[in-house]
Symmetry: D3
Subunit: 167 residues, 6 copies
């Protein structure tokens, strides 16, 4: 780690690098993240119509995209370690005018799975955007954020303002 | 397109599908998107220290990750067409307590490149998150949103509240 | 082409090679393929129960996997050309004790899309297998076969015994 | 697992999901699968001609494609876990008018490698199809099926009608 | 292009970027490259023994790996454009104590295929290394170099000292 | 292993195969490799100009490409095992008229990481080539070679003529 800066992904000369985890032992890791997509009232109404078929299929497509993206996190994020994963659990729901993608990832490994959860949530949200964008290009994604993590040296972390985003 | 719902990515029975573009002719397409990462004051200060080396390397890593992700959009987003791209231009900057990743993509094709711009911006933002998360897991990504697009049958679209996010 | 053998994917010395299409001009190409999964009566019954939810989700997951696999055909099949695609259309249905995945692919290119249709159908079938294998490892996939193709120098081809498999 | 349906890949509401293996311990896993390609008498004869060079190269290409596909199973099959593999062994032979691709995969992990074996066999068969399709588009793939598996909680399973397909 | 530096892959501020080819028109592009692997006399002798089977299979595996790598160049090299390719032709031979992988790539596109040829040759050479490394870890790869290119604004280029490496 | 030939990647009949490591136990593995790019005096001078910005960005882009390629070695090299990695450390420097990419990889696994180090170094060198090729297509890559490895049954190996290449 760059002792001065405190960024574990920057080396002594400030250069980007993968954190060396060879001295760590594997342990159970869990991380949860969420991504919100503000689709607006018109699209939300459309998604609810037709007996929920549209909503169901948009969310199901997003869920699958999220699961598959979790598995490819190490390919997308330059300094992420490639990992085997024990589970990727994704739920999607339409809450008011927003779609919420929530992801929980677990593994037994030397590094945490925060990035897997964040990446899966992001790709789930991007897929929602893709599925509805013919009806409104102004749809916005955000926040995408970690909800909690456990395991590893830094232990458990829990977002305090967890329910704000849905407010 | 599902005539009833208006969602081009849902078929007659509401099922998810790729839009058929075989009847379209190729034309110049451009799309721009942005993603914001709220790193907070402490990390922002750290990024500015050490003569900007930390900031430079975090942003440079994010920029490269964004360019590479643009090229793989069709692998990540289920109903996206695989495309060849003419350019992917990514800039990153630290504005106050937030990092802004801005992406512009162009191609000559039958479909737009909105998803390539949005995906690149998201992966750029996720990379910033990855690079700074050792100093604060609460960092939030958002908004991720389209700024403009041109080309194709639906023509030019421009976000009206473009500068809000930076406000 | 190896003149003696007639295999376009084997060179003069019989070595595997990609067909050179640089002299060809792009034209509209379409190909359709199907893959059958014989799940047996017990699993078929289970898929139909619970109001069709199980059936719907197994088939929807298979459909998405098939669409995504079509886009990656060039990565999986060594001598396949990488292509941009205009459409990938996948349907799935439970017919008796068998699930049928049918795929239609189109592009405007120098080579046909038979392999994209065959690969998508295969991966769709493999996904059905994956989704039901906890209830019966003996489930068999087959036939996987081309139904039709059009475009290019060899023109249109249509399978004659098209409906046998469903018989 | 969905208690009612018995499908381990469907959750309580019937939704597709990855099986959570975080509570399992790693053990030795082996799975074998086969895929048949009915090339017909004319192509079979051609493959045998020229001193076996054509046959050899078609099968060698298929074998390599199968090995490489086994490693990417988790990318193709939505609910498959990404795994490290200990071995992927592929053989190919021309038996009468049919090519048989047989695959054996082993790993030390929390989940079985049935899908890796099935996917590798399928991609091997698709590659055979690709290599010979210039001489006959009617070539059919199937059956693709599991031959045996061992390891894990469900223990050893062996196909009973193992030799039928070759009959 | 960075006018001062002359590097087309560096922007005005010296930052890495993808070259914008949106103003260019597609034309026929060809590039050839070679990669040498100095396996040394002992391994060369072993490769020649057993009637050439070992040599044949090492080189065939390298050839296939090279073809497949050409198709994925845009994923590996950050600033490379994703391309469709018209042909990838790879030959391999044992010349004295060295294996030579030669690659020729063509496409009809807005950018050249030098990187596809160079990447394919490199991966072919790495595969040779992998196949023989159990007999000698000291095996060296090099030179890897462009032999010629044609098409595009910069026209035709031909290496002058083309035969040196084999000398 | 093919007992006669001594090549662990060739089976009894000389066919290419993945080495079966299921009987091995995991241990700490480290491998280091280097790749040289002879850019010539003119490009070297340009890289040094502009206060090192060009040099910095060319090398930083190559470093990231190398790290990302290490993670994908198993996809590129047909008989390589897919691995999780503990660290990938890449340095780049301009030494005289040549750029040197040096890579160190570690993992805890059943197989060594020589190919990961060699592949990462190669892709780093290819990226340097890509970044400077607008100024000279004659740039050559090589040697690419292993510097050292440790761990596993074959133990530690160290290149003796380690410093020659830089001479």
């Amino acid at each position: 780690m760059d002792k001065q800066s405190g960024f574990s992904h920057l080396g002594d000369a400030g250069e980007a690098r993968m954190v060396d985890v060879s001295g760590k032992s594997a342990s159970s890791r869990v991380a949860a993240a969420e991504a919100w997509v503000n689709v607006g009232p018109e699209i939300a109404k459309k998604l609810r119509e037709t007996g929920g078929v549209a909503k169901g299929n948009v969310i199901e497509t997003a869920r699958l995209a999220a699961v598959m993206a979790a598995k490819r996190t190490g390919e997308l994020i330059p300094m992420c370690h490639p990992l085997t994963l024990d589970s990727v659990d994704v739920t999607g729901e339409l809450a008011g005018d927003r779609v919420r993608i929530q992801v929980s990832v677990s593994c037994e490994g030397k590094t945490g799975v925060e990035m897997e959860a964040m990446t899966a949530a992001s790709v789930g949200a991007l897929t929602v955007y893709d599925m509805v964008k013919s009806m409104g290009k102004g749809v916005e994604i955000g926040p995408v954020r970690l909800l909690s993590k456990s395991g590893g040296k830094s232990g458990t972390w829990q977002r305090e303002d967890k329910h704000d985003a849905a407010g």
